[in-house]
């Protein structure tokens, strides 16, 4: 269970563990539910009734509403929660969503041993948006040390089959990660490697439950757990920290003054409560290791609210942070990172929980070891090792908010390859002629294919096709024909009509008013395009813009060559609607406006201009806002395109720079995980009244960084007070949002590095 990064100031709870099934099909010998002091499971019903689910959901919604909580997390747990079966699981999830979502965003998760995970269950998980964490202790030998069936049979192969299911494209987004319980008798690197082989989106390591009365097994060393975990930490760092590992990320985050991501460490409130199958409210599950009845509160969902639970003395103590710790912990130099460890691990029969953790020595050594590593010169490089192959110089330059032609060209090459692979992926559904023609052109004129597949909206089309190919896939014929024209090959294919025209990407459109029963057929000869549309025949000279042939509106400026895209049928992927085809005066006006705007960009943002020459290929005109407000947009699946409604050249220059920042960051996000996409918290920003999701805040800071820089240049050049004020406003928005981002647990090491690079740019302005 995670801690909330947006934890409330008053005693409220945001995370709820629902024990929907209290039995398990495995008999792991370290299990805190069945093998430790608390034996309350014997007295509870095996499954949670729908009445308890309904009342629990109502209590959670009631609490969220009373405390204006924007999101809550519910973790379906057990025993083994999947023992309820797929039908019951769907009913539970539906009840929870129906009751809680009108009040707050629901982050619904499950922790499972994986043995019951079938395709049928995965369909329910997908329909109900339930992310699943799977328990696995590493390689076969390590896992089988504890995680066995009652007859001692291994669970390993069954769990690996579950993980294979979760890795399938259809279910990958449900794969929350792997939870591994440490056993220091296992080889740490073998465990780490086996877990990584399952391609998890994240990992977490748990210390086996222990108390001062039942101390941890310590074969041959005073701090074997620290040594074991540090070995993995060093390997993970050397690997470039390829996936988040919650235990390590928590120590790294709290070392920077951020929040912990786990109730096992740190001082942030552990705002968690458990609801048992009979509706009893309980404290953290791990307390079962202390004594029989330790987690009990005497409260239940039918008679008591979440506020009652939050006020329960032992729960309140765990919400009290530093004040809830013993004197030894309060005096410890690493207390802010350790937080006394897991509450349950502090238990001693004679004085309860007023102790350091039974793992105190290990935790201290682990934290100091990670802090020392983090302050060494190699750690910074390690945190961005995962982007080395992108080209560290590229990442550094783009991360700072800039990126010259070489850096942006590198991103453009990677984007082209992504487009190629998307086209190859959807080609299986395409008519065979197009694919064969594409391959033929690639063999004889590869540059022609690359020019067409670099067109921003080819990817947008491929993504649409991937999600729904019917009625879209035929456009591959137009793509292949455009390649043939550019490559000088003769070819003939039928092409789809969009709004009374056919369009050849990068070349232009032919207006062909209907009606027709079959699509027109286009054939190419050098410099010519021949159209057969029913009984109608015509030949077009591609070099002569004459009705019905409308070549793409190319604009060649000082160092920048782009197209004003008013025809591509797939350009409607921006937030705002695009205009229809422009007439010649309108095209001329755009050319003039862009020429003036580009001169302004060259003067006010020369470092941005350098990158734009290598990456900006298309400007798509948008329908103007009825109220005259400025409109502009980028689209994630259209690298190289920005869309904008007509405006004055001064504003256009700013909007081009702004949207191209989104284009650059979108290309990086394609490749690098800067944040945890499942992070449900929202972040306050200065430029919008309502809090925003992480990716949008990252985009906003990155765009505003460049705009602040642009206004700084304007202010310095002109001495204009209004320009200086605008600069300060954008800079302050950027720095505040970056600080708010950094305070979450949502960023990966690469995300932290990205913020550090942006921060270096801001620092250079002082």
């Amino acid at each position: 269970v995670s801690r909330s990064a947006t934890g409330p100031a008053t005693a409220t709870l945001t995370q709820f563990v629902l024990k929907i099934h209290s039995r398990c099909d495995l008999a792991c010998d370290y299990c805190y539910v069945y093998r430790h002091a608390d034996q309350s499971w014997r007295r509870r019903p095996p499954t949670m009734s729908q009445a308890v689910v309904r009342q629990a959901a109502a209590r959670i919604a009631e609490h969220a509403s009373a405390h204006d909580q924007r999101w809550v997390r519910v973790v379906l747990h057990g025993g083994e929660p999947l023992l309820v079966g797929p039908r019951r699981l769907r009913a539970i999830a539906t009840e929870l969503r129906a009751t809680i979502e009108p009040v707050a965003q629901l982050d619904l998760r499950m922790q499972s041993n994986g043995t019951q995970l079938t395709p049928e269950v995965c369909e329910v998980l997908r329909d109900c948006h339930i992310a699943v964490g799977i328990s696995l202790d590493g390689d076969r030998a390590s896992n089988d040390r504890h995680r066995r069936y009652a007859n001692r049979a291994s669970s390993y192969d069954t769990v690996l089959r579950a993980l294979e299911l979760l890795r399938r494209p259809a279910y990958r987004h449900l794969y929350a990660g792997i939870l591994c319980t440490v056993d220091v008798r296992n080889d740490p690197i073998a465990v780490y490697s086996a877990l990584m082989a399952q391609d998890p989106p994240r990992l977490d390591f748990l210390l086996p439950h222990a108390t001062w009365d039942r101390p941890p097994v310590r074969p041959g060393s005073r701090t074997p757990y620290a040594a074991w975990l540090l070995e993995i930490f060093r390997r993970w760092s050397a690997d470039g920290r390829p996936v988040p590992i919650r235990l390590f990320d928590s120590i790294l985050a709290t070392g920077r003054g951020g929040v912990s991501g786990t109730e096992s460490l740190g001082l942030d409130p552990a705002d968690i409560a458990v609801i048992e199958t009979d509706g009893s409210w309980e404290q953290a599950d791990s307390l079962k290791v202390a004594f029989d009845g330790a987690p009990a509160t005497g409260l239940n969902v039918f008679s008591h609210t979440v506020d009652d639970v939050a006020a329960f003395p032992a729960v309140a103590q765990r919400l009290a942070g530093l004040d809830g710790l013993c004197a030894t912990c309060r005096a410890c130099p690493v207390v802010r990172q350790c937080g006394g460890g897991l509450f349950a691990h502090r238990y001693r029969r004679d004085n309860g929980f007023d102790n350091p953790s039974a793992y105190c020595a290990d935790l201290k050594e682990l934290i100091v070891g990670i802090n020392d590593y983090g302050s060494s010169s190699t750690a910074g490089a390690a945190s961005v090792r995962e982007v080395d192959d992108l080209g560290l110089a590229t990442f550094e330059a783009v991360g700072r908010g800039y990126g010259d032609a070489a850096a942006i060209g590198r991103l453009a090459d990677l984007q082209l390859e992504i487009a190629r692979e998307l086209v190859a992926a959807v080609a299986a559904d395409a008519p065979p002629g197009a694919w064969q023609l594409l391959l033929e052109v690639e063999r004889t004129a590869p540059r022609a294919v690359r020019a067409v597949l670099s067109h921003p909206y080819v990817r947008a089309w491929a993504v649409d096709c991937r999600r729904s190919p019917a009625g879209r896939i035929e456009y591959l014929n137009a793509i292949a024909l455009a390649c043939a024209v550019r490559g000088g090959l003769e070819a003939e294919l039928p092409v789809p009509v969009h709004d009374t025209a056919v369009y050849l990407p990068t070349l232009g459109r032919v207006d062909l008013p209907g009606p027709r029963s079959t699509p027109p057929v286009l054939s190419t000869t050098p410099g010519k395009l021949h159209v057969r549309d029913g009984d109608h025949r015509l030949t077009l000279d591609l070099t002569a813009p004459r009705e019905p042939w409308w070549p793409s509106a190319r604009v060649d400026l000082d160092g920048l060559s782009l197209v004003v895209e008013d025809s591509d049928p797939h350009r409607d992927c921006h937030y705002w609607p695009p205009t229809g085809r422009l007439d010649e005066p309108a095209r001329r006006a755009w050319r003039q406006s862009l020429a003036t705007a580009w001169r302004i960009v060259l003067a006010d943002a020369p470092e941005q201009a350098a990158g734009m020459t290598a990456g900006l290929r298309v400007v798509t005109p948008l329908v103007a806002a009825p109220d005259g407000r400025r409109r502009s947009s980028y689209a994630r699946h259209a690298f190289g395109a920005v869309a904008v409604a007509p405006t004055d050249a001064d504003a256009l220059a700013v909007l081009l720079v702004h949207e191209f920042q989104h284009v650059k960051l979108g290309a990086l996000i394609d490749i690098i995980d800067f944040y945890d996409p499942t992070y449900p918290g929202l972040i306050t920003v200065g430029w919008r009244p309502e809090p925003r999701p992480v990716e949008m805040v990252l985009h906003g800071t990155y765009a505003h960084l460049a705009i602040a820089d642009m206004w700084r240049a304007r202010a310095e050049r002109s001495g204009d007070a209004a320009a200086a004020a605008t600069f300060r406003r954008y800079r302050d928005w950027t720095t505040e949002a970056m600080a708010n981002l950094a305070a979450t647990q949502a960023l990966t090491p690469a995300g932290v590095r990205l913020l550090a690079l942006m921060d270096a740019t801001i620092a250079s302005w002082r």
């Binding site: 259809a170 390829p242 992504i418 692979e421 991937r466 937030y575 689209a635 925003r692 949008m696």
Partner: protein, 52 residues
């Protein structure tokens, strides 16, 4: 797919003809970039206006 592996695969495949790109690479890359199942509503930020 990790960033380093993703970039290495993209660089390698960039040199190959379209029909020689390993199917496994295509599946992994496409799954990352354009999964068939879009993100849950409210988190789909693939397209949004400039007032982020």
């Amino acid at each position: 797919m990790q960033a380093a592996r993703l970039v290495a695969a993209l660089d390698q495949n960039h040199k190959l003809p379209l029909d020689r790109i390993p199917a496994d690479d295509i599946a992994k890359i496409v799954d990352r970039i354009a999964p068939r199942e879009p993100a849950p509503s409210g988190r789909d930020v693939a397209a949004f206006n400039s007032a982020i």
